[in-house]
Symmetry: C2
Subunit: 251 residues, 2 copies
Amino acid sequence: MDDFAADPSHPRYESLLKRHLLENAAERGMLAGSALIAHGRGEAYDYLIGEKTIESAMIASKYALSKLKNTSRAVISVNGNTAALAGVDLMKLASLLRCPIEVNIFYRTPERMSVLLKHLEAIKQEYDLDVEILGATPDARIPGLEGPRAKCCHAGIFSSDVILVPLEDGDRCEALVAMGKTVIVVDLNPLSRSAKMGSITIVDEITRVAKNLVTMFGNNEEVLQFDNSENLRNTLNYINESLTEMSNSID
Amino acid sequence: MDDFAADPSHPRYESLLKRHLLENAAERGMLAGSALIAHGRGEAYDYLIGEKTIESAMIASKYALSKLKNTSRAVISVNGNTAALAGVDLMKLASLLRCPIEVNIFYRTPERMSVLLKHLEAIKQEYDLDVEILGATPDARIPGLEGPRAKCCHAGIFSSDVILVPLEDGDRCEALVAMGKTVIVVDLNPLSRSAKMGSITIVDEITRVAKNLVTMFGNNEEVLQFDNSENLRNTLNYINESLTEMSNSID
């Protein structure tokens, strides 16, 4: 971060900071080739929700937090983009939840796994967090997936009943749901397969979500009722209404 | 392209091919650091229009082609992403229009300029096209811009009255409009500054646009009436309607 010189009052500061974090992560070998393209897609969808946490996302986040707090078998799964953008807050969340965090990447190579594990380990040291970091020695498989992308840890993803999987691939999301888990998806595209497949879908940007979950942790606000499809429809309606407004503003 | 092995019948073939072209271009030093993120944003907006040329885009393309054909001072401006994705068809279009093509990049470095010029030169040889490729020795400046991004060629962008500038930055687009040119923008985000600023805005993906312009060249179909704001509003209405449909399909 030392070489990031943008002015925090710059209107695009948040966006520039995220790009900077990802470019750094790419240089360090944390990201797959498609990671920057995926981030760009996220930027476009984020623009459509006004680059803020909208009401439907907050409702989903609160419900997700209730679910995470009310189990002893929660896990947080992180990939390259997630670790680069929200590694610190997700490590803090894992510490608050007393749950493990598992590095779990779609394009698994020993090099990328090692860099990501070191990245989380460094955060653990810097913030003095008591968190178990999993992923180094996968000893279980997600049924229904083929090849390296099925690999996971028995003590983490495999045995969990509630899993937070930001920016997850549709196939993997589906396989986790098929295992009977409560799958909490964070995806800016409300129409992605993951978004439609998840048990709880938070249509919001991962750094904002992670920050919100940490901030709300102490609130003890229980959300008991939640309908994911209805919430997704509300999100799409919100996007529609903003597009209509923006359309009307073209002169 | 030799190492691109995807099956053309794959539902994501077009999308995978574009990513492959960009990854190749990145390896060859043709792209700026932000190019892949920009492409990802494009993918997201393309998804919203169904990854096809919608009616409003076709109308804008036809009108743009009329304008390009009815002047002796047309120019096609290309940057890294444009050259990588649509270099061949834009070179063919320049040959049909008998107009120059100018390499004109936002983050100008001698290395990137050289790789891009060589890329277009190779297309010129391969397809035996009679096209003047400009950009190597800029000798003019676009008024209102600072630094290297103002550089352009007198015989190309500077003297043109109709300019096709796909995937252009908002500031540059504004500066070209201020010079009194008819600025034809190709941008998948109908709400970008370039889209709103352009004289003729084609909300479509650049490889489809370039192919359409080449295919339609011989048609001699004149489009005489065109209202860019109205056309943009039609595009937004189209997106709104598809989102509403997609929203209704969530069960």
